[in-house]
Symmetry: C2
Subunit: 480 residues, 2 copies
């Protein structure tokens, strides 16, 4: 059996790391592999390391673990490097958002038409983009044959930047397309009988093909919209796949926006909380409202707390088992995602829905599988430049990634009125990062409907660049 | 000598028609030709017809004239059809602007980022676009070998629409590049020694090449900006080639915007009168402010009035000469453009700077000349789609139009951040016209910074579609 080394950067993100570890345990073809967990947060790293080792021991999988605070350790000899790190964490994002809102930029200066996801910073996220490039350069030098799996956001800007500035094998992953399952379930379609395809850019993908038993399934969707959509209510802030915003975008573009694409609409749906409630549903107004985002932060906080408790419990009780956790912490975990996660992680039949480990398996063993990947366009969508990273389905095997032919092609409206302006913003972010020319961010903000005058632009940028963590960004951006 | 038939549609525009007639008189190679003046305004047509005939007689040129109210008469047997008609005239444009402003759309719903020229309507100009297509279809049927010269705005949308929907030989003309002369004069450059090139789309062209005596002339421009630009003051509302807006656009994009491109910037320069004054100069705030535009309308009115008077005078005085006009009407005309125009028209050495007649001469006689033309892109600017009409220099001869290689290519910033969003708006306008789907205009307005809510969009469109002249537009746009 081939054994590989997988480096996980930002492994302190417990839920994500445990999903990968659990997936690995359910992939005997990868037994014997070494997983190097890397994070700069020692406490979180330690917790994940303990959880991972205990879990593997308990389920009897053959996997080895290392932990390190050193990036290079996760890269040297690696066959796969998975990056999920968020430099500066949510704290940084919230700081920038707070400054932005003080100057009239509701939801932050990074919230832009077609890029409204609240932690998808592209302009004020210099340290994050810089880390992507640093990792890629180290892979190029230390493990030039390794695959780089971009899991950290912004996946669109990040994967485009990495593929433009390095020669490594890189691919970006997102789970946005999984939101389709809600559509299939709502319409009563058996998942494995649906012939579907999505295409676009990360957080901007559209259901170009939707066929069921030989017929367009869009007819079923239209019927549901007409008869039932008025009864739709979100279950949580992120539940927006069949929201009024999604349906409205579908009606204009002719195909359904999928996953976070629904969040990434125009200001029409995002002007303020009231507007957001109208389009994404009560009471939250979607994930990207002040209410929905607070819910998300609280949920994240609860998961972090309980993860720490579980790790502490396992350390203090060397004979305790993972399978005891649910019983012990179940009551406490019921308000958050962790219980569900734990159930999935503990279920030997059920893999997480993250694509990373199955991708590794397909590359290593040659087992052909279908993934939705972020890769340079190279004529997949002819109207898009070849060096722009697109998100499309592909078959993966030991030869690599074989993108599917997109058929039917995305409607002109999606390409011309949605993808192109979104791509322009990506280009502006990438150019800002590469050149350090802050005039590009200024130009972006001059065109922003929230900007009332030039002074507002100067002030908000000055305050963001004055944050201590932005010292290097400041130097780079103001060097002209 | 080859004699041709030239149809002029919208010939009631006296200044434009007289320029063409005067140019023809100074082009002996086209003597013997027939000019068919066509307009639906009988009074204006009659005035121009008289002026043209008297002028030709007086200067002893050999040209024949016809006048007609019937479009087909101007097309049948024509070798060239020049369209300068503005369907509905300025009255329609002002009506739409007034309605728009009532609902919060300063300068009208057609004023959009990168399309701020006050009579360049693309979305609410259904009758105008329809007329372009009607003319093209009639040429296709009646005179399939004729050249169609698109002089009427919107040249960008119009020429793109005509070349996409018909097989005729079509070319769009604008005189925007002539504004370069002010730059050359200001920098003390001998015009014929400047090696220059512009490229882009109509009202969105940029000085990609600017060389003088073997060296970049941009250095001279930079020196002028540093030392003298603070002293710059506009001579009239349209005098903006070296305005603060132009310099600011140049600094960001790396090349100078030329002609009406300076008007076609972002909302940053156009938010309100105060902003416009800052960027385009006092007292008018450029041509597209409420003050500058009023100046333009008054100037147009004066020209119309005096043209009528001159025509009346010539009719009543059969022996009066054109050369008397200056003396008789000089005092009255001194406040407007007509006197200057008359001087040019009467000067046997001086042609107008319109490109139409020289273009006709080059096609007819094979005399190679350089023009700035609007033609389908076909790889001239590789990053732009081939079926988008671009404005570029070309050599014209009896074989047709030979576009120059654009060298150096336009900077990425011009292509990605300026041309592409402008092209998107053109595509939205053309699709709206072709499909009659008003949802595209709505989508445009949802993205418009002036839009506060959906109701505003509904109301402004409803009132525009309720204008009596928009009955057909209403039917077409609401048929879905």
């Amino acid at each position: 059996m081939p054994s590989v080394k997988i480096g996980i950067i930002g492994a302190g993100s417990a839920v994500f790391s445990l999903r990968l570890v659990s997936d690995l345990c359910k992939t005997p073809a990868l037994y014997g592999s070494l997983v190097t967990l890397m994070d700069i947060d020692e406490e979180r790293l330690e917790a994940v390391y303990i959880l991972a080792k205990r879990y593997v021991e308990e389920v009897g999988a053959e996997l080895k673990f290392e932990k390190t605070k050193n990036l290079e350790d996760a890269i040297i000899d690696a066959d796969f490097v998975i990056n999920t790190a968020m430099v500066g964490g949510h704290t940084y994002l919230e700081k920038v958002r707070q400054i932005s809102e003080k100057y009239g930029y509701y939801r932050g200066i990074d919230a832009q038409e077609f890029n409204m996801v609240s932690d998808y910073y592209t302009f004020s996220n210099y340290n994050q983009l810089k880390y992507f490039v640093e990792i890629a350069k180290k892979i190029e030098k230390l493990s030039p044959n390794a695959w780089y799996l971009q899991a950290a956001n912004p996946v669109f800007e990040g994967t485009t930047l990495v593929t433009r500035t390095s020669s490594i094998k890189a691919v970006g992953f997102c789970h946005g397309h999984l939101a389709l399952k809600e559509v299939f379930d709502t319409l009563g379609l058996e998942h494995n009988k649906v012939d579907w395809q999505v295409a676009g850019v990360n957080h901007g993908i559209w259901l170009n093909r939707f066929i069921y038993e030989g017929k367009s399934a869009y007819e079923k969707l239209n019927t549901w919209i007409e008869e039932n959509s008025h009864n739709w209510k979100p279950l949580h802030p992120f539940n927006d796949q069949l929201s009024s915003a999604a349906i409205d975008m579908y009606k204009f573009h002719g195909v359904l926006p999928v996953g976070d694409t629904v969040r990434n609409a125009s200001w029409r749906y995002h002007k303020n909380l009231e507007t957001k409630k109208k389009w994404y549903g009560e009471p939250w107004g979607g994930a990207d409202s002040e209410i929905g985002w607070k819910w998300y932060q609280e949920t994240l906080g609860k998961i972090t707390d309980i993860t720490k408790k579980i790790a502490k419990f396992l350390i203090e009780n060397p004979k305790a088992k993972f399978s005891d956790i649910k019983e012990i912490f179940g009551q406490e975990a019921k308000d958050n995602e962790l219980l569900q996660e734990m159930e999935k992680i503990l279920d030997p039949e059920q893999k997480s829905e993250e694509q990373h480990i199955p991708f590794v398996e397909s590359i290593v063993t040659g087992k052909k599988e279908r993934f939705v990947v972020n890769i340079p366009n190279r004529r997949i969508i002819p109207a898009v430049e070849n060096d722009v990273v697109v998100e499309v389905p592909a078959i993966v095997d030991s030869e690599g990634i074989h993108p599917e032919k997109i058929e039917p092609m995305l409607p002109e409206r999606v390409i011309k009125y949605y993808l192109k302006p979104r791509i322009m913003r990506m280009e502006m972010a990438v150019e800002t990062f590469l050149t350090g020319d802050i005039d590009i961010i200024k130009e972006l903000l001059y065109r922003d409907p929230r900007t009332q005058n030039d002074g507002q632009v100067e002030k908000v940028l000055e305050e963001i660049l004055s944050l201590p963590e932005n010292e290097e960004m400041r130097k780079h951006y103001l060097k002209k």
